[in-house]
Amino acid sequence: MINMDPGTITIIIIVLFFVFLAMGMPVFGALGISSVVGIYLLLGPRGLGAVPGVIYDRLNSFTLVAVPLFILMGEIIFVTDIGSDLFTAASLWLNRLTGGLAMASVVSAAIFGALCGVSIAGAATIGSFAIPEMLKRGYSKSMATGPVTAAGALSLLIPPSLAFILYGEVADESVGKLFIGGIIPGITLAFMMIIYIGIVCKMNPKLAPKLTDVVTWKMRLRSLGRVWPSLVLIFLVLGGIYFGVCTPTEAAAVGCVGSFLINLHRKTLNWTVLRGIFMKTMLTSGMILFIFTSALLFGYVLTLLETPQQLIMLLEKAELSEWMTLTFAIGVVILMGMFMDIVSVILISTPLLLPIILNLGYNSLWYGIIVGITCEMAVITPPIGLNLYIIKGVSPDYISIGDIIVSALPFVFVELACLIIFIMFPELCLWLPGKMG
């Protein structure tokens, strides 16, 4: 039996994890193998007997069932043309405003976010027709791509959100409360983006030429006709959670059945489409759940090693002020978000950083929402910003990935401003979940 103190083992496994990651090992493998090494060094070969049990017990969670179900709901919605209907309706209602189409892409992405939980779906759906439409109307490259790239990520913050389910599960926080808590920050962020677009387009009219087509109130009202089923679905899913009628998992199943009904009504389903929906859902869910599985093991090892306590002691010894500690923690999350996908960021950073935050006297619901806002930045900052590549995929070829990175950059600052608001005024995001039934 090797005798090593927990501090050394912690450093070894964290270094191993990053080395493996840099070598291109899948995240689940890097987490798994460094956990196994950690357990072996701490408890010897006998300790490894606990590995399957730890995974089994923690994966066995009804809350987690919401992950595949919400992904399924998103995929079912994806095959309807709800995305384009939302954008058309929003652009008819906003057509008088300068930069109206860009604003419409934000609004439709936000509403789409309330129907699905992953950031890429929103960006891909809204982007694929909003971007060509804006370019056709003479919008500049940056105004045509930037807003959609950033607003597509709103689905991470606006419930249902996969980020919140995963956070809730690791942090032992109510997913329902996180969902409801994400509503106000999500809407605030959408409004801040719209205001930013308005100001920039007013200052530089070349970015977004004014639309000249005549839009009547009749057209506007008619556009709502195709949108209302999705609004009802949003109300059912979120209302059910808010009023305490059902758990997020049950709401997800209701959402799936509801979106199937919309599909049936629009006659967009056939066997091939159905198989595609289930296959894509399984790909995404399998990938996320498997990372989750080994992240659970990693979290278990860190608890065994008492890593969070050691970190807290270290920070106390450094005598950092409350603000410094908070900035440090959020800085780490932002930095990780630049290099990793958000699923890994949430699952790896939470067990390490949450104890520090709780030790400062903050609440884990608030921190979860802060992490959610931080993830908004993570998906649009290079080198690993999933939304950037998604938008590149749905844009015309002459728009380069560099153009998209630059066009999304101002929105990183809008999000940073939003983050600071909710850090300064925690009541803003804690108020609504406090009123839940």
Binding site: I33, V51, M282
Partner: protein, 170 residues
């Protein structure tokens, strides 16, 4: 020799596809079961005892049964910023090294997982709920799914070696 290799390759891929199709079916069941439960509870005021527990088992099932397929589609998330800058040959070597390391993790899961299953079977463990589900069945999902993942990793290493040989030829 070449024929046997191709046969092994094909059979592992078939098992992987089969496991994936089973997990898709599991997903459909999951949706129907949770929805059914909502209706039964709120409309008929008659909640069932098995729904929550069975959906948890199904979740474990779809997670582990789809893992090998996600690998064969190369969709397990990894960080490629650094690796992408390396020459192809080194990239292939690195992939073999990391694959072997992940296989070590898989082996631990399979080996210890099998012990857990045997213990649950011999000891006659059942879930502590009213369903009284025999636990060796649900425990066996982890070693089984991981075994398919391990087999798929062997195929992956084989493919990498083949690509390395092809690279040498050219």
């Amino acid at each position: 020799m070449r024929k046997t290799l191709r046969a092994i390759n094909l059979s592992v891929d078939t098992i992987t596809r089969l496991a994936e199709i089973l997990s898709e079916v599991g997903l459909a069941f999951l949706m129907i079961m949770v929805f059914r439960e909502v209706v039964w509870r709120y409309v008929f005021k008659n909640p069932s005892i098995f729904s929550v527990e069975l959906s948890e088992y199904l979740l474990v099932f779809i997670t582990f049964m789809s893992a090998a397929w996600v690998l064969s589609e190369d969709r397990h998330v990894n960080m490629t910023v650094l690796v992408d800058r390396l020459p192809k040959k080194i990239r292939l070597y690195l992939d073999i090294v990391t694959s072997i390391l992940v296989m070590v993790f898989c082996s631990v899961l399979i080996w210890k997982g099998c012990i857990t299953v045997i213990m649950a079977y011999v000891g006659g463990y059942h879930s502590s709920s009213l369903v009284n589900f025999p636990l060796w069945i649900s425990y066996s999902i982890i070693p089984l799914g991981t075994l398919i993942l391990l087999l798929q990793y062997i195929i992956r290493i084989g493919n990498n070696i083949k690509m390395l040989i092809d690279l040498r030829k050219t």
